[in-house]
């Protein structure tokens, strides 16, 4: 598959995530959209890790390329997991305080 297919796919997923963030008011959904965007990026990273593997394999069949990119994805997952745990805790506390997960009630930044 050409790399641009993967790019288009990732861009589509990312844009859907952005649109979701912009259109929804539910904090949890927004959070999920953010996760979607993260995954779009992860997918792209993995695709890029394989981008130059073919030329390297042609020169040397036992060559290993793109390990770093995949480890990068791994670390992104690690951070995402940590982020989700804290983020959800915040949402829970927000719900506990204002009995809603509507981000429009969170306009206290104004004051």
């Amino acid at each position: 598959m050409p790399i641009n297919y993967y790019i288009y796919l990732a861009v589509a997923l990312f844009s859907i995530g952005v649109a979701g963030v912009l259109t929804r008011r539910n904090a949890i959904i927004i959070f999920m959209c953010v996760e979607l965007m993260l995954n779009a990026v992860n997918l792209l990273l993995v695709a890029f890790s394989k981008m130059h593997a073919q030329t390297a394999l042609a020169a040397n069949p036992s060559a290993i390329t793109g390990v770093e990119a995949q480890l990068f994805v791994f670390f992104i997952m690690v951070v995402a997991a940590a982020e989700v745990s804290v983020g959800l805790a915040i949402i829970v506390m927000m719900y506990r305080n204002i009995h809603s997960v509507d981000v429009n009630f969170l306009n206290r930044l104004k004051h």
Binding site: M1, P2, I3, N4, Y5, Y6, I7, Y8, L9, L13, F14, S15, I16, G17, V18, A19, G20, V21, L22, T23, R24, R25, N26, I28, I29, M32, C33, E35, L36, N39, N42, L43, V46, A47, K50, M51, A53, Q54, L57, S62, I64, T65, V67, Q70, L71, F74, F75, M77, A80, A81, A82, E83, V84, S85, L88, V92, R96, S100, V101, D102
Partner: protein
């Protein structure tokens, strides 16, 4: 069209469709379920790309742990379609247009790029195997790995502190 291409298109359509459903569902529980579908599709892509380890991790961490956490929270709060807050119509349209424009701009940016973009992605190689990744992770990247454990610890403590009642 060989089997790889068929699988690619199938998984891509599934992912985009799932994402759209996730965003548009009124009921948050459905949203979570659709997102899990998306994650599975992405994991499928990983397998297609010969990144088996990441595919497994993605399913375990995202589709398994994280989404279950989301589901827990949603059910804990007893959210459903009726309690779902709605934005007004214009803001929604504006959001959709903004997201669509972003995609258009990305695509426009790609269309101007050079021939490199047509590079074929290799499905082979051993980079995605646990053996290779593990070796690199525990030699070259052992310090970030250990530090990420500290990150987890602090995230855990943070979650407990934030979620604690009575302050």
């Amino acid at each position: 069209m060989d089997i790889t291409q068929i699988l690619f298109w199938f998984l891509s359509i599934l992912a985009v469709f799932g994402a759209l459903m996730m965003v548009t569902s009124k009921n948050p529980v459905y949203s979570v379920l659709w997102l899990i579908v998306v994650f599975f599709a992405i994991s499928g892509h990983y397998i297609l790309l010969n990144a088996q380890f990441l595919a497994v991790v993605n399913i375990i961490v995202y589709a398994g742990a994280i989404m279950v956490l989301f589901l827990f929270v949603i059910m804990l709060m007893n959210l459903n379609a009726e309690t779902e807050p709605q934005k007004n119509k214009w803001l929604k349209i504006a959001g959709v247009i903004a997201g669509g424009s972003l995609m258009l701009v990305f695509i426009a940016a790609l269309r101007h790029s050079n021939e490199l973009i047509k590079t074929q992605v290799s499905m082979g190689g051993e980079a995605g195997l646990i053996k290779t990744l593990g070796k690199t992770l525990f030699t070259d990247y052992v310090l970030p790995f250990e530090i990420s454990s500290v990150l987890f610890l602090s995230a855990m403590v943070g979650a407990v502190v934030i979620g604690k009642k009575g302050d």
